[in-house]
């Protein structure tokens, strides 16, 4: 088992004829992901690097009924691309694009929430994220596949390369990963820590979860409350940005401490108070997970059997 994606998952790529789209569609296929084709408006009916191309997500949907759309569309057009996949009811949308205007995402998120409130089940990962991977199953994103190894630990993160760092440690120690989800560094996005923790809690293959957060916002705090109240599995947390100055955007639009809120120190203390094992040295994420697993600490959620 794993979460969100596995060997049978069928993927289309929006923006497949672009440079990034082409490169990563091929890299995902090389990893073993079932990439069934892609979408580029105006290039429908052609074949690109062996992938069939459609004019719209709707055309792709009627031809292949894909499970996932992976989006590599430039930021100015990315919101439209996500909205198109939502309209076509693609169950999982993974948006890699970095630099989407936040008010575009406000609108996208509103539409997505409304569709789901009407009974649809559509999930969005990202934007501005590395994607999702189930090792030896499906790589749907830009992460280097080979650093992963199928195993026992779920990883959820707001960061890209920092996630690779943590994954590499887990792989080196032989623990491996069940699924790794990069939820992205933007302030308004799809899946959040809580949603992914919930999935990991229900996944029999996942024995522990690594949660990699950053300064800014309060999503890590919400996740900590969820873990405390609803989870039995141990969570190891890291927060990047202890040395980040307030008011400055640190690479990600979401990584900004404003009005003294969202500092790393505050977040770490909050996580600790909610029984999350906090690592302050990112070199020790893997080792800390190994220790936690060895000690066999199963947590008793506060809301037992309610």
């Amino acid at each position: 088992m794993s979460i969100l994606v596995d060997r049978s998952t069928r993927v289309i790529v929006q923006g497949i004829t672009g440079k990034e789209g082409t490169y990563h569609a091929m890299a995902c296929r090389d990893y073993g992901t079932k990439v069934v084709g892609g979408v580029t408006p105006g290039k429908g009916g052609t074949t690109h690097e062996g992938f069939p191309v459609w004019n719209s997500v709707f055309d792709a949907k009627s031809a292949e009924n894909p499970d996932v759309s992976l989006i590599f569309v430039p930021p100015a057009f990315a919101a439209d691309a996500i909205l198109e996949s939502i309209a076509a009811s693609i169950p999982l949308i993974v948006c890699i694009t970095e630099g989407i205007p936040v008010l575009d995402m406000v609108r996208v998120r509103r539409v997505l929430d409304a569709r789901n409130a009407e009974g649809a089940r559509i999930r969005l990962i990202g934007p501005n994220c590395p994607g999702v991977i189930t090792p030896d199953g499906a790589k749907i994103g830009i992460m280097p596949g080979y650093i992963h190894k199928r195993g026992r630990v779920g990883v959820v993160s707001r960061s890209g390369t920092l996630t690779y760092e943590a994954v590499w440690q887990l792989t080196q120690l032989g623990l491996g990963e069940s699924t790794c989800v990069g939820i992205g560094g933007d302030p308004v996005r799809g899946l959040n820590f809580v949603d992914v923790l919930d999935l990991f809690e229900d996944d029999p293959e996942t024995e522990a979860v690594v949660m990699i957060g950053e300064i800014g916002g309060e999503d890590e705090e919400k996740a900590a409350v969820f873990a405390r109240n609803e989870m039995t599995k141990p969570v190891v947390g890291f927060i990047a940005g202890l040395t980040a100055p307030p008011g400055r955007r640190m690479g990600h639009a979401g990584a900004i401490v404003s009005g003294g809120k969202g500092t790393a120190r505050e977040k770490m203390a909050f996580l600790e108070r909610h029984d999350i094992t906090v690592v302050d040295n990112p070199s020790l994420i893997g080792k800390t997970v190994a220790d936690v697993l060895k000690n066999g600490t199963r947590r008793r959620p506060v809301n037992t059997g309610v």
Binding site: A27, P75, A76, I100, P101, V102, L103, D104, M105, V106, R107, R109, R110, A114, I142, M143, P144, Y146, I147, S157, R158, S159, G160, T161, L162, T163, Y164, E165, W168, G185, P187, V188, I212, E214, I215, G217, D219, F238, A240, G241, L242, T243, A244, P245, G247, R248, R249, M250, G251, H252, A253, G254, A255, G259, A264, D280, N281, P282, S283, L284
Partner: protein
Amino acid sequence: MNIHEYQAKELFKEFGIPVPNGILVESKEAISSALSSSGLFTGENRPSVWAVKAQIHAGGRGKAGGVKIARKIGEIPGFVETLLGKVLVTHQTGPEGRVVQKIWIEEGSNIAKEFYLGAVVDRSQRRITLIASTEGGMEIEEVAENRPEKILHLSIDPAEGYSPYIGRRLFGFLGLPFPVQSQFVNLVRDLVDFFVRKDASLIEVNPLVLTKENTLVALDAKVAFDDNALGRHPEIRSLRDPSEENELEIEASKYNLNYVKLDGNIACMVNGAGLAMATMDVIALAGGSPANFLDVGGGASQETVEQAFRIILGDPHVKGIFVNIFGGIVRCERIAGGIIAAAKDVKVTVPLVVRLQGTNAKEGREMLKDSGLDIQVAEELFEGAEKIVLSVKGGK
């Protein structure tokens, strides 16, 4: 992106939000000609009080002496002279402060009461949220901390947009007098319209003033825009004031490098924003102090690395460099080649520690060791941080 108060007020005016009349002065010479020609100082209807306000991208100007009130025209040139070229240090500028290069002079208002009105993209609501408070002129963070009941937050559903009832709710909360209700409701409408149409990320009117003549005026204006949306607003991009930004940061942005200057002396160069922040943290954990945040992005080609070295070394405080690259899609031996060529070209004279991990890291590290350059190589993140801290502290 931040803009000056005077620029924000010009935009407010475009959107129909009431602001005091004023003029911008950038030199001592300009003030004398303005005094004799501008309607702000001549004619029957000239005001009796003027505010002379230093224009810098930081709050807290009033407390730092950056705002002067002139009750006679004769006082204005003196105030301008004092403020122009002055280094203003406020709680938002850092200890080095900001040099005042522009002065905004505006008519004074007959203040009856001050309020706070703001709008922001609220990430947890995933909506634009309006913030109003009866405690105008104070830091809103302070009010939120001490008297949260004095603040009202109202989110705007993007599917619904602004509707006058939202303005009326804020109006009721603020306890404004009935004669200004429609003025206020329209002002909130225009503010939201501005926010949405210009892709703002923050608007603060602090204070919003009720005058004794029962009019509303935005006495101060602070506006920030979403950097991701500047592409569709060339008119906003042109308002950028490079003198308010760090030179090295501007230089870095030309090469798509994400650089933020900090106060320490150990520079770092990293691929990825999260890992870059974590690298800064690890430098501090090892007993050092980071000189910058620098994300070279996914590519990390020789050219990028060279430019990154140049920018890092442009900061005279830098006493050592820690390069931390997690090779994913980019192979480490290519990165090592880039680092070697760049280090030769740029002539890095301070200690250099390179930590390579990921794809072909072993080959990359071998190349660095065999390069004949004075590069220390590390495998693990913390090991690299310890090495650079030790070198900078002289224990090498």
